[in-house]
Point group: C2
Amino acid sequence: MDTYIEPRVLKGFRDFLPAAEIARRTLIERIETSFRSYGFLPIDTPALEYAEILLGKGGGETEKQIYRFNDNGGRDVALRFDLTVPFARFVAEHRTELPLPFKRYHIAKVWRGENTQRGRYREFTQCDFDIVGSDSAAADFEILLMMRNTFQAIGAGEVTIHVNHRGLFNRFLTMLGAEVQSVEILRTVDKLGKIGRDATLAQLAALLNDDKAACILGFIEARGGFEETLACITELAGGDCPESERLRQVYCFMLDTGSAASFILDPSITRGLDYYTGVVYETFLNELPDIGSVCSGGRYDNLAALYSKERVSGVGSSIGLDRLIAALETLGTLDNNNAYARLGIACIKGENAGHYQALATRFRDAGIPCEVFLEGIKLTKQFMLAEKKGIKWLLIPADDAGIAFSLRNIEKRETIDRCSSIEEAITMILG
Amino acid sequence: MDTYIEPRVLKGFRDFLPAAEIARRTLIERIETSFRSYGFLPIDTPALEYAEILLGKGGGETEKQIYRFNDNGGRDVALRFDLTVPFARFVAEHRTELPLPFKRYHIAKVWRGENTQRGRYREFTQCDFDIVGSDSAAADFEILLMMRNTFQAIGAGEVTIHVNHRGLFNRFLTMLGAEVQSVEILRTVDKLGKIGRDATLAQLAALLNDDKAACILGFIEARGGFEETLACITELAGGDCPESERLRQVYCFMLDTGSAASFILDPSITRGLDYYTGVVYETFLNELPDIGSVCSGGRYDNLAALYSKERVSGVGSSIGLDRLIAALETLGTLDNNNAYARLGIACIKGENAGHYQALATRFRDAGIPCEVFLEGIKLTKQFMLAEKKGIKWLLIPADDAGIAFSLRNIEKRETIDRCSSIEEAITMILG
C-alpha cells in the first residue's frame, strides 16, 4: 500500500492561487509605477542574514518571533523580520556606492513567528520606501506627497494623512519637566486610538500626576486647521523652534501643490517606536478609516547607527500590503481578473495545434494575450472552461488552419459566425 | 568607545543595488509579459515548508544543501531549494480548485547551501513554467514554442532547442537488453557534453560491454535533419511506437508555426533526473552556446506522486535567471538603465520644493518619470548628480514656481535656454 505525505503548508503561511496572485501582482505593479514616477529605485537584500545584524543590540519581542537557526556552516542566521534593518545594514555597507540623497523602495517578503490567532500571517509582504541622505523639508514632503498620490493611483481613493513632529512633542515634554519618562509617555499616547481617552489619561496620571496628564492630553487633542493647531502646539512647546518651522514649511509645500486637503496636523500621532526623531505620520483611507493606518513612517536621525559611525539621516514609510489588499477587496476596487488571456483558441482537432499556435501568434503580436486550448473536448465544455478561466473571447476555427473561424463572446454567450478576418477579430476584442 | 556590528552579508548571498536590481526586474517583467501572452498564470508558495514535504523520500545531495531547522513551535522546517517540489505539493493540495489543463509560472527565490567556490549563489532566482493536466503533444509543443519566443522577446537572440524523448531512449535500451542499468546509463549519457566522447564510451563499457557501449553512442550521436534523425533512432528503438509518433507530431507543429529552424532532434539529451518520462529538451543561445543550457525541462508522468494518489501529468521547464543575466550582459542586450526617472527638477531654492513637486506632477501625468532634486547645492553639482543617477534631462527653474525654465540635456551637455512651455519640454523629452 502506498503512503502519501499530506500536502499542506505551515500555519501562518499561504499559497497564492492565480486569482489572488494576479490581484497582488497588479497592486504591486501599480505601486511600483507610482514610485518609479518619482525616481525611486528598487533594491533587494538577502532573505537570510547574520542574526547579529538583524537583531542588533537585542530586540525583546522581535527575538521571540524571529526564525533563527544555525546553518550548515555553523553560522547564527535568521530570516529578515522587516525591511528596515536590512536597509540600515545595506546603507552602511554601500554608502560610497549610493549617490545621496538616495531614494529607494523595497517590496519583499518578511517572516515572523507571530501568534496566528490574531489573524496575522507568519510570511507577509512589506513595501518600504525611504529617502536617505537629506535633512530637508523637501524630503519629508516628497514622501508625504508620494504616499497620497500612490493611494489615489491604486484605487484606494482619497486618504487623510495625519502628520506630527516627534521633536516638537519632546520639546513640550521638556517644558513640562516630563522628558525622563518620554519613552513611556510616547508609548501610552500612541495607544490613544485603541484604548480611549480615559484609559490614556489614567495611565499618564500614573506615570506623572493628574495635572501633567491633563496637560499632555490637551496637547495631543489640539484640533483645528493645520495652522491653528500648529500655533497651539508651538505655544505649548515653548514658542517658535526649528521643529515648528519644519511643520510650517511642509504645510507651505502642501498648499503649493494643492494637496493640503489630504493632510491634517494631529499631535496625537507619535509612532511608538523610538527611532523616529522628526516628522511622523499615519495614513487612513477616507472610505475605511476603521481599519487603521495603512501606511506609516517618519524621519529618523541616524539609520545605520549600529553598523557605522557615519550618520545617515532620512525619512521613510511602509505600506502593509496584506491589510491594503483586504481594504481594496472591501472597497471593490481590487483588480479581480483571474486571467491575463483575453482570447482562447478552441481546439477542434488535436493535430492542428501548430496551426492554432500560429493563429494565436497573430493575436499576441497585436497585444492580445491568447491561450491555445489543448484538448479536443466538446465545444460546450470548452466554453465552460473559458468561463472558468475568466477568458472573455473564444475563437472557434472552422477549418484546419483557422482561416475561417467564428468568435464567441463568453460573457454574453453570443457567437459571431463567420468573422471575416483576423484584423476584424482584433478590433472586436480590443474594442 | 562605540563598537559597530560589521555590515556584511552571508557568503553566497547578495545585495542588489539599483542598477543590478533594475536589470533583473526589467528582464523578469519581459519574461512575464511573454508568459502572460500565452495565458500562463502566476502562483506563489511559501518560502518555508515542512522539511518532510520538501525532502519527500530523502534526497542525497539535496539533504546536505538544504537550509533546515526547527521553528519556535518545534516543527521540522526548511527553505525551498527549488520551485518544482512546492509546485507538486501545490497541485496535490489544490487540484480541485485548478481548471485543468493548468498553465502556471512561478518566478521566485530558492536557497541551497552549495559550495560557493564553483561561482554559485546560495540564494538565487528560479523561473519555472509548466502545463499540468494534459498528456497532449500540443502541450509539449506549447512549452517549446513559448521558450523559443520568450528568448527572442527578451533580447537573447535566436536559440537552438535540443529535443529528445526519454521513452524512445528507454525502448532502445530495452531492445539492447540494458534496461536494468537505465538510470546509470542516463546519468552517464547526460554528461557527454562535459566529459567527452571517449570518457563516456569508457564509462558505458564498464557498465555494460564494449559492443553495447558503442551501440548506445551510435544512438545518441545520430545526427541529421529532424526527420532523418527520427527515422534513425526509431529504427534503433524497434520501429514505430507512440514515442516516435509524439516526436513526429511535435515536428509537424514546428513546421506549421514556421519555427522548425529553432529545433533539432538530439538523441543525446536525456536530462539526468529520473522523473522525466517523455519529451525532454535543453536550450542553447546561438550566440553563446558554450555557457550551456539556459532553459531545460521535459514531460513527467506524475508530478504529485508523493502527495496524492491522483495522477497529474505535465510538461514544464525552468530558466536559470542568474546564468541568463550573465549571458545577456555578455551579449550587451541587458537593459543597463540605472534610473527610471527621465527628468530631474533642479533645486534652486529649498523653499520652492512645493512648486517643484507641482511642476514634476505635470511631467509624471504625461508619463515621464520625474525626480525632484532636494538640496539647493551648486547647479554644476546637480548636473553631476543627474549624470551619476543616469537621468537624461534636467529642468532648471528660472523663477519660484518654475513657470520659466531652461532644460539641460545631461548626456549631450547642452542647455536649451528658455523652454517656452511644459508641453514643449514634454515633446522634447519623449521625442
